[in-house]
């Protein structure tokens, strides 16, 4: 029986464990940084400072937030369904962390004489893995909203489900163009396929569609209908508090980081810098992190700018504009690739 997916290069088991811990640790460290960066930048975009009281320049603010949330009582409504209510945030956080595993931060340099891949695992089905996990991630929101036993949570969860269906399709189709051009599903090989030119240039339409769909996927403004504080109090996480709310919050921001990583890998050439052929291997992770930072800043910039869409606008935009565009993009890319490579 042939396996469904193969792994390109894998190290000894103990290196894999160390790598897993390091990636998890880095992922955990990035989230508070994104938290404070978002609040500071949002402030700047609105002509104010943002948090600047806790620690130097307010940099310890996320720590204070997390400590406050974790110190709170874990309560749940009488109408909620206990096991699902507890399970839901765990699903959200688990899928976010799992997606983080396949983002490549570099190739396979030799560290202390051992060949180590700077990624969790290099699977031959990279984008499929991402989509599988982001589809599961919505179970976190949906179960959370359903199990809370509250109308606001329920409405938020329904919106989240509708949003998933609308935007997952477009996002997938937007990536097909990249995959056709690269001819591979392995994320490291996709990065190497961009050695001549980043895919943002030939796949600009795909990139824009992916970006818009990414906002919807991560439940960020202007597609944050699932939480819509103004109408739904907090959407699916209305009834959550304390550590469970912190998990949802954590998952949301980690998703932003992960989507930035995916966009960097697929469209901005991962760790590659055009015209720099003698790039030392130790710079790779920093180049990736820098490009991811640009995306995160763009996410925050958009949040500071655009108002939330109405529900029907969201739906008609997803189905009537994004999906046809993504289909057209895929079609044209396929024709061009066939015409050029015969």
């Amino acid at each position: 029986m042939t396996p469904l997916a193969t792994v390109d290069y894998s190290e000894a088991w103990w290196i894999q464990i160390i790598k897993g811990i390091i990636i998890f640790a880095i992922g955990l460290q990035i989230v508070p940084i994104v938290l404070i960066a978002e609040r500071k930048l949002l402030g700047r975009f609105q002509g104010r400072y943002g948090p600047n009281r806790v620690g130097p320049y307010g940099l310890i603010q996320p720590l204070a937030d997390i400590v406050k949330l974790l110190g709170k009582e874990q309560s749940r409504p009488n109408t909620s369904i206990g096991p699902l209510y507890i399970l839901a945030p765990t699903i959200s956080i688990m899928t976010a962390v799992a997606t983080f595993a396949i983002i490549p931060f570099g190739d396979t340099p030799h560290i202390f004489g051992t060949k180590v891949g700077l990624y969790g695992v290099d699977v031959s089905i990279g984008p499929l893995y991402i989509f599988a996990l982001s589809a599961i991630a919505f179970y976190g929101l949906m179960l959370g909203g359903w199990a809370s036993g509250s109308k606001y949570s329920f409405l938020g969860a329904m919106r989240a489900a509708a949003q998933l269906i609308s935007y997952e399709v477009s996002q997938g189709l937007a990536l097909v163009g990249v995959l056709i051009t690269a001819g591979t599903l392995s994320l490291t090989k996709i990065v190497y396929a961009q050695e001549g030119m980043w895919y943002i240039v030939p796949q600009l339409a795909g990139f824009l569609i992916f970006l818009v769909a990414a906002f919807a996927e991560t439940n960020r403004a202007p597609f944050d209908l699932a939480e819509a504080d103004a109408e739904l109090v907090g959407g699916y996480n209305t009834e959550y508090g304390g550590g469970r709310f912190a998990s949802y919050y954590f998952a949301e921001y980690l998703n932003v980081v992960v989507v930035s990583g995916v966009a960097t890998t697929l469209f901005l050439g991962g760790w590659l810098i055009p015209g720099w052929t003698q790039q030392p291997a130790w710079t790779d992770p920093f180049v990736v992190l820098f490009k991811m930072t640009l995306f995160v800043i763009f996410f925050i910039w958009i949040r500071a700018t655009l108002p939330r869409l109405r529900y029907d606008q969201l739906m008609s935009f997803g189905w009537k504009i994004l999906l046809p565009l993504a289909t057209l993009n895929t079609l044209i890319t396929a024709i061009v690739v066939v015409a050029v490579h015969g």
């Binding site: 402030g43 700047r44 975009f45 609105q46 002509g47 104010r48 400072y49 910039w301 958009i302 500071a304 700018t305 655009l306 504009i321």
Partner: protein, 192 residues
């Protein structure tokens, strides 16, 4: 627009007619294009706020300067030393006439007057205010007391940080009103 035949008497809007400029209908390729352009314009607007800088005044450290006629916490005054050896220097201006209390719409001033004696001369007039209290939790800072005072004994100062933990602490006594405020609020410069 020509009137329909046979209806010459029909009223024509003429100069009163206003052409309303309407945005193009949303939807379609043009709508998407315009939406994209407007999004970029919005991004430009928010980025301009970053470049413009921060407008926040960090309140406890920085304070907004008040105008000279700002009505803050009241002050009671004494006669200053005029330098000519006059006997009035250091005496309170308030003569305990209670006109301020009568003028007060919030009824927050309480004055109890007493007679000056040669041994204990407090004010320049015949009588003085033995008790002069302003309940700051009731005061609406209208400044009528200042207007009513015939001797300019009470004026509105510039202090606006009056919060306290108990209501009792908000009843300002004569000694508190006579004393200079601890930290005077910054005053706005001329023409600022």
């Amino acid at each position: 627009m020509s009137p329909a035949p046979g209806s010459a008497a029909r009223w024509s809007p003429g100069d009163d007619q206003i052409e309303v400029q309407r945005a193009p209908e949303p939807g379609g390729a043009g709508g998407a294009y315009r939406a994209f352009g407007e999004t970029l314009r919005g991004l430009k607007t928010t980025l301009a706020r970053v470049i413009e800088g921060v407008n926040t005044i960090q309140y406890p450290e920085q304070k907004v300067a008040v105008y000279p006629r700002f009505r803050g916490r009241h002050k009671l005054h004494r006669f200053e030393d005029s330098g000519d050896g006059g006997g009035q220097a250091g005496l309170e201006k308030c003569v305990g006439c209670s006109l301020c209390a009568a003028a007060c719409p919030a009824d927050c001033i309480r004055v109890v007057a007493a007679e000056n004696t040669p041994e204990m001369r407090v004010s320049a007039g015949e009588r003085y205010a033995a008790v002069y209290e302003i309940n700051m939790s009731r005061c609406i800072f209208c400044g009528y007391c200042e207007v009513a005072c015939p001797f300019d004994a009470i004026t509105m100062g510039h202090d606006y940080e009056l919060s306290d933990y108990t209501r009792g602490d908000l009843i300002f006594t004569k000694e508190m009103l006579l004393a200079e405020p601890l930290d005077a609020s910054p005053l706005r410069a001329e023409g600022e």
